[in-house]
């Protein structure tokens, strides 16, 4: 049987590769290809390209979507909201500090201030998509030794994988009396928690967990061996407590 004479255009050939030909035409092109092995080889390479593209990039589809990409209102209000909230808290903190100056309640006021600063830092950095941290978890060793050196203490970034939170990384922040460290964690849904740590200058060696709610951000904070910790997140209080307990346990194995 001699091959059928057909006029097949470049357009037809690509449409064949992409499965966009009507069945009848598809059959005609297939017949043309049978008679033209070189063209068949070329088209096979194109089909292979399509498969390889999927093999290369389909895994991206499964990556968790950052929560701040999901809604317009939250994005915008977050952006503005976090600035407004930060400002309000700073003003409030200042006013509180002034009111409490020289008073007995100074320590708890200071601690409240610590929780508030932790919440502000959480609100400012946790919605960040591009630069949530200064040093990523890939350089964990460097991150921990750098922050330890700056804070003048022996810091650890507890691993919270068993609770579903991966370490994203950390950054150095200015605190009231010197540098403060912030470690950031993230779960599969994009929910972020931050652990805020400063060297403690008060006489207290260890305290129980205390809880503060700053807007939508909950904070558990405590002192443990000359370091003050504050764990912040926008999750249910009991869930945050679970993580706070885990952090404490991992720091005191």
């Amino acid at each position: 049987m001699s091959p059928p004479k057909l006029s097949v255009s470049e357009f037809d050939l690509h449409a064949y590769v992409d499965g966009r030909l009507a069945e009848e035409r598809r059959g005609e092109v297939a017949a043309f290809l049978d008679a033209n092995p070189q063209e068949q080889e070329r088209l096979r390479a194109y089909q292979e390209q399509n498969h390889t593209l999927h093999a290369l990039f389909d895994s991206v589809l499964a990556e968790p979507i950052p929560s701040q990409w999901r809604t317009p209102d939250r994005r915008r209000s977050w952006r503005f909201g976090s600035f407004a909230a930060a400002l309000a808290w700073i003003v409030l903190g200042g006013a509180l500090g002034w009111l409490l100056r020289g008073e007995q309640a100074g320590i708890s006021g200071k601690n409240m201030d610590f929780a508030r600063r932790a919440a502000v830092a959480h609100a400012v950095y946790s919605p960040e998509v591009r630069h949530p941290v200064e040093v990523t978890a890939e350089q964990e060793e460097h991150l921990v030794s750098w922050l330890s050196k700056r804070l003048g203490g022996d810091l650890k970034a507890p691993h919270l994988i068993d609770l579903g939170y991966d370490l994203v990384g950390g950054r150095l922040l200015p605190g009231e009396q010197g540098p403060v460290a912030q470690f950031m964690y993230q779960d599969k849904s994009g929910q972020r928690l931050t652990l805020y740590i400063k060297t403690d200058t008060s006489s207290e060696k260890e305290t129980a967990f205390r809880f503060a709610q700053e807007g939508s951000v909950g904070v558990f904070y405590w002192i443990d061996r000359r370091l003050s910790y504050a764990l912040s997140g926008e999750v249910k209080k009991e869930d945050l407590l679970k993580v706070a307990n885990a952090v404490y346990r991992k720091l005191n194995p």
């Binding site: 357009f11 966009r20 194109y46 390209q49 593209l53 999927h54 589809l61 990556e63 990409w69 915008r76």
Partner: protein
């Protein structure tokens, strides 16, 4: 599903396309973020019932084109900074790398890469792809044809270095 959820449903493919288009994780995330910012801001302008996917990919195309343009401007301002000369003959090592489709993709022009990816990866029709990049279908077809052929040649060139491949 309301309209806003509709946007969210398209985020994974937008992200996949951005990753394939830029070839870099950080640049791709920037591209997605800028696209979504613009999309949320202009959501009121989107005509209900029209193709949301095409609308979002069109925004991404425009953002990408602008990013490329401003990167070029920056490069022109720093003309003395080292630039990769893609026209130079590839080293032996690079030739091996060319077997990698991802690597070969970077050698296409942005226009060709866009079309190859919109059709081959995002499985858009030729009409849809034409709408997204804002050119006639005929132009899309010629970019597709040239892009695919160039990828094939680049991959073959890599495959031709059999001697090097054998040494392991």
């Amino acid at each position: 599903m309301n309209d806003a959820e509709g946007i969210v449903a398209h985020i994974p493919p937008l992200r996949r396309y951005a990753r394939a288009l830029t070839g870099e994780h950080a640049a791709a995330e920037d591209l997605v973020q800028d696209t979504l910012e613009r999309a949320w801001r202009r959501f009121g302008l989107w005509r209900r019932g029209s193709d949301l996917r095409a609308w979002l990919f069109t925004i991404m195309h425009n953002v990408f084109v602008n990013q490329v343009k401003s990167a070029q401007n920056r490069r022109n301002q720093h003309a003395d900074s080292a630039e990769v000369d893609w026209s130079a003959a590839p080293s032996a090592e690079e030739r091996l790398d060319l077997r990698d489709l991802n690597h070969a993709l970077r050698k296409l022009s942005n226009e060709q890469r866009e079309v190859v990816l919109l059709i081959g990866l995002e499985q858009m029709s030729y009409d849809e792809a034409a709408k997204v990049v804002g050119v006639p279908v005929g132009t899309v077809m010629s970019r597709l044809s040239r892009g695919r052929e160039q990828l094939r040649l680049l991959m073959n060139r890599g495959g031709a270095t059999t001697q090097l491949k054998v040494v392991k």
